[in-house]
């Protein structure tokens, strides 16, 4: 009994504080989406805020857009990180430099990355100049804030690739050599070895990478605000503009709950789907 109390006392300032804060934030967000804990006016339970937000086109577009960015960015980052992690499984000359280069974006804050990127692709930026001087383009092309969000996806991949790389390379390096050599002895080519040996044995790390990147990309504000298509909002930019320009906390709460639901269920669904696909690929 005294021991339990001792452990609880130890956990209180760290874990306790974190849990109290997170549950309070969640509680207020969910309550405000149903009209409770209002900052102005009466606090009555109502579904009106959900009805109003669900009736808005920009809400659905934001949900669709955030889901699209999150799925594309997480799949791309994992797909790119796999071959690099496999290549760097065994050390070779220059492998340390290479892995340091891959991890470098971890050192760059998101806003700085977004600025560097729009700077490079701006109308008279270096990419346009290069394409003009090579004669590939006749006139500068407007690359910034493209309407498909390719710029945002590129930034997400740039920023998230190191995470996927770190998780996957830990898993890939833990693969026993004996297993890979045995597969080779039994006549499996590189593709078969990847499909039937590497993929199933590293699926856990891959799922973790997918989930983390999905959640990070779904909640993105900075990349969308700086490099995203001007005609669409991401859920985070929509939530912020609903709250700050319209002063509508309840509407913002609806978007917040939506974003958390997308993070939770979207990332889980993606991880399960990809797991299923790797099972199929194993044959």
């Amino acid at each position: 009994m005294r021991r339990t109390l001792f452990v609880l006392l130890l956990l209180a300032p760290g874990l306790g504080l974190v849990l109290a804060f997170v549950s309070l934030v969640l509680y207020v967000a969910v309550s405000q989406s149903f009209g409770l804990y209002n900052l102005g006016g009466d606090s009555v339970f109502s579904l009106a805020h959900w009805q109003a937000m669900l009736g808005e086109r920009r809400y659905w577009r934001a949900l669709q857009y955030s889901a699209y960015i999150a799925v594309t960015a997480s799949l791309l980052a994992v797909a790119l990180a796999y071959p690099v992690a496999l290549l760097l499984r065994k050390p070779f000359r220059g492998s340390l430099t290479l892995s340091a280069l891959i991890k470098a974006p971890l050192l760059v804050p998101g806003l700085v990355a977004a600025f560097l990127f729009v700077n490079v692709i701006s109308y008279h930026g270096i990419v346009n100049q290069l394409m003009l001087s090579l004669g590939l383009w006749d006139a500068p092309v407007r690359l910034q804030n493209d309407k498909n969000g390719y710029g945002v996806i590129l930034l997400q991949v740039w920023k998230q690739l190191p995470f996927a790389f770190l998780l996957l390379s830990a898993a890939v390096q833990a693969l026993p050599d004996a297993v890979l050599l045995a597969a080779r002895d039994l006549g499996a080519g590189p593709l078969d070895r990847f499909r039937k040996v590497v993929l199933p044995l590293t699926a856990g790390a891959m799922q973790a990478a997918l989930v983390l990147i999905f959640i990070g990309a779904a909640g993105d504000f900075s990349f969308q605000a700086v490099a995203g298509p001007p005609s669409v909002d991401s859920l985070a930019t929509l939530m912020t503009s609903v709250q700050s320009t319209q002063g509508d906390w309840n509407g913002a709460a609806v978007v917040a709950v939506t974003l958390m639901a997308l993070s939770l269920f979207g990332s889980a669904a993606l991880a399960i789907l990809v797991r299923g696909a790797t099972r199929l690929a194993r044959g």
Partner: protein, 274 residues
């Protein structure tokens, strides 16, 4: 043989891509930050016609940049110190004790890592409004401490786990007081972990944007929020370049220091015993 050549080629291509990926963007930012305000850098000049640090000087004197730097660089060490202190008891429990529900507790501490930053920021602001708490500096400080507790707890748990029980017992047998036990058996093993936790929180607090932006609006500035102000509606490229470099350069140096620390956070090298 051909496989080896293929691999070399692949590596060469990768290195080239990574260089373009990193060096070109940074070179452009440095050039833009050094464009002399008297002569604009316009198309089709390949390089700025005149380079100077004039822009840096003007920004220092006429914008709220010094305040932002002061805010960021005072928030970061205080947040780091508080976080490390608050994380230590939980880390001790995770690293040295066994109790029912420990596995669950170790997962729950990570919850802030998967919460969307802007959701936390906006509803933290809402709670503050309801409480009538309008002091933004302590509010942001508190937010940073909570958000980065998971990192400090994780790092310090590992350190606490590396403390050797036989050394602790030996110290006790020899009649050491609790403080002496801590100094002799714990502190030498914990030290790199404490520094690493401090540095991680310091870096994360420096670059934190969502909370500082939402809770600090409209006029509390940190380095990231001032950078954002130059990237939004009034996009001023040279100013943004200056602030971006002010944000990223110390960050890179600190991270390299952190890498060193994490490599040295090895019990054998600290306690002198394998």
């Amino acid at each position: 043989m051909s496989a080896k050549i293929l691999q070399r080629l692949l590596v060469a291509v990768l290195v080239a891509v990574m260089l373009v990926w990193l060096i070109v963007p940074f070179a452009m930012a440095i050039l833009w930050s050094m464009v002399d305000p008297s002569t604009a850098w316009t198309y089709p000049d390949l390089l700025p016609p005149k380079l100077s640090f004039e822009r840096w000087w003007i920004m220092w004197q006429t914008t709220s940049l010094p305040t932002a730097i002061l805010n960021s660089y005072s928030l970061a060490p205080i947040a780091a110190l508080l976080t490390a202190l608050l994380a230590a008891p939980t880390a001790f429990a995770f690293g040295r004790l066994d109790f029912p529900g420990k596995g669950l507790a170790q997962i729950l501490i990570l919850v802030p890592l998967v919460m969307p930053g802007f959701v936390v920021a906006i509803f933290f602001a809402s709670i503050l409004l309801q409480m009538g708490f309008f002091a933004r500096y302590p509010a942001i400080l508190f937010g940073h401490v909570i958000l980065y507790l998971p990192y400090a707890v994780r790092i310090l748990s590992v350190s606490f786990g590396q403390v050797r029980t036989d050394v602790v017992n030996a110290a006790r047998d020899l009649g050491a007081s609790p403080w002496q036990v801590f100094r002799v058996a714990y502190l030498p093993v914990l030290r790199p972990g404490i520094f690493a936790a401090f540095l991680v929180v310091f870096i994360l607090s420096l670059e934190e944007f969502a909370l500082a932006f939402v809770v600090g609006s409209p006029d509390f500035t940190t380095i990231p929020t001032i950078l954002y102000s130059y990237l939004g509606y009034n996009f001023i490229r040279p100013n943004a370049a200056v602030v971006a470099l002010i944000l990223v350069v110390p960050n890179v140096l600190l991270m390299l220091g952190l890498e060193r620390l994490l490599q040295s956070a090895n019990p054998a090298s600290v306690s002198g015993k394998g």
